[in-house]
Structure formats: C-alpha cells, structure tokens
Amino acid sequence: METDGSRPTPHEARAALDTVTESRKSLAPFVRSPRWLYPVQGLATAAMLIGLPISLTDYAVGTGLLAFAIIVFSVLPMAQHTPGRVVFDVYTHRGSWRFALLYVIPIILLMVAVLVFHPIYEADWFVYLAAAIGFLLTVVMGPMLDTRLEHAVRAGL
C-alpha cells in the first residue's frame, strides 16, 4: 500500500491498534453501577408489569404505575452520572449484549404474559407473581451484566 509521510507504516498502524486495545482495557476498573441502580430499576420493572394489565381495568392506578415506571426509566441514565465512573450501555456493548438478551427477553415475555393472561383469567396473583419475578430478575441479572461487561472490557473485547 502506498503511504504518504503523514500516514503510519503498517507496523505503526499495528502499534496504534494495540494502543486502542490497551486504552479500552484501562476502563475495566470503572465498570460498576451504583448499588441502588438495579433495585430501583427492578421496582420500575415491577410497576410496569403490574401497571400494564391493571391500566385496562383500573385506569388511575394502572396509569399511575406506568407513569412511575416511565419516569424512573427516563431518569436512571442521568442519575448514573456519579463521580469516578463512566456510563456504559450494557444492553448494546459488544461485550455484554448477548448476555443482556437473557434478561431482556424474559422481561418482554413477562409483559406479554400479563397482557394476554390477566384479561382472560382476571387473576391478580399472576400479575403480582410476574412483577416479583421481574424485580428479582433485574436485581440478580443486573450485577451479573456488569460483571460480564467488566470481564469483556478487561479482555479488550
């Protein structure tokens, strides 16, 4: 390949790519979410799972819960801006998005389940059970997602 004076040689390009990888690795110690993040996100998820079907029968309570969930989900990205950390998107980062599907897909399935089954069977316990599962999934899987991302960053993926 022809190069001009300002362009790196192939070996310099390789060294520059190594620098990029090393710089990415230096972020690993900063991959940590605030402790309150996933419990709060779990509560919002539970509120959404209850609010979705309940809003069809009890509009005030249902929309109130949905509004709470929407506000929390809107504020969470900004509230994470605490000193000494960087903000990763664990759901889209190449080191964690596949693992994130193990959390996102069950949550979507729970939403579909409460929307389909609650109007048919009118069983409130099913909605509360789904909300509890959604909360637990978030609280358990959230830190696991962070750990997965940290390992990926440390490995330079």
């Binding site: 390949m1 190069t3 300002s6 362009r7 790196p8 040689t9 192939p10 070996h11 390009a13 390789r14 520059a16 790519l17 620098t19 990029v20 990888t21 710089s23 990415r24 230096s26 972020l27 110690p29 900063f30 990205p77 801006h81 605490t82 000193p83 000494g84 950390r85 960087v86 903000v87 990763f88 998107d89 980062h93 960053v153």
Partner: protein, 105 residues
C-alpha cells in the same frame, strides 16, 4: 484544522495523535465519561487532557457537558455522532494498514 481536511479516506490526523487516539478509544466504548475518570484511566494530567479535548471539540468530535454532583462541578465528555463515525473509519483504516503488514510478513 477542520475535520474534513483532517480525514483522508478513513485515516484521521486529528484522531491519530497518540493521546487523542487513547481518549477516543475510551470514549468510543461508553455513553459518556467524567473528565476525571478519563484522566485517571489514561494517566494524564488535567492540562494535557484539556488541551486534547479542546482539539477534539473544535473538530466537532466530542461534546463537553458540565453538571453538578454533590455541589461540585463535573465535566462529562462524550463522542458526537461525527466523532464516532470518524473514529470508526480511522480504526478501519489502521486495520487495513496493519493487514498489509501481515501480508508482507
């Protein structure tokens, strides 16, 4: 130097400067990062980091946003859409150059 003149094909002279390449490598990974975190992660001084961020900001590759946390002012840095595109193109060009070395070996 404008970003249009800095970039030839994918290669970008503004981004390729060693310190700025390291800064962009970090910013490309995250939604945004606090100034102090970038400084600590890369082991740079405040003045050196500020100088390079200014160059990237003038090129339209990053945005700086100030916010207050616990009464202290913090600066958050993020790559712009143009910055992400330029960095991605630059990395692709470096890979192409490095691959040419592999074919020569």
């Amino acid at each position: 130097m404008s970003s249009s003149t800095a970039a030839q094909d994918g290669f970008n002279e503004i981004i390729h400067a060693p310190t700025r390449l390291r800064i962009c490598s970090i910013l490309a990974e995250v939604t945004d990062a606090e100034f102090g975190t970038v400084r600590d992660a890369l082991g740079l001084s405040d003045s050196v980091l500020s100088k390079h961020l200014k160059v990237l900001e003038d090129a339209g590759y990053i945005t700086l946003r100030k916010g207050t946390v616990n009464t202290r002012t913090r600066t958050w840095v993020s790559l712009t859409k143009a910055g992400r595109a330029a960095f991605k193109a630059h990395i692709a060009e470096l890979r192409a150059l490095a691959a040419s070395a592999d074919s020569l070996d």
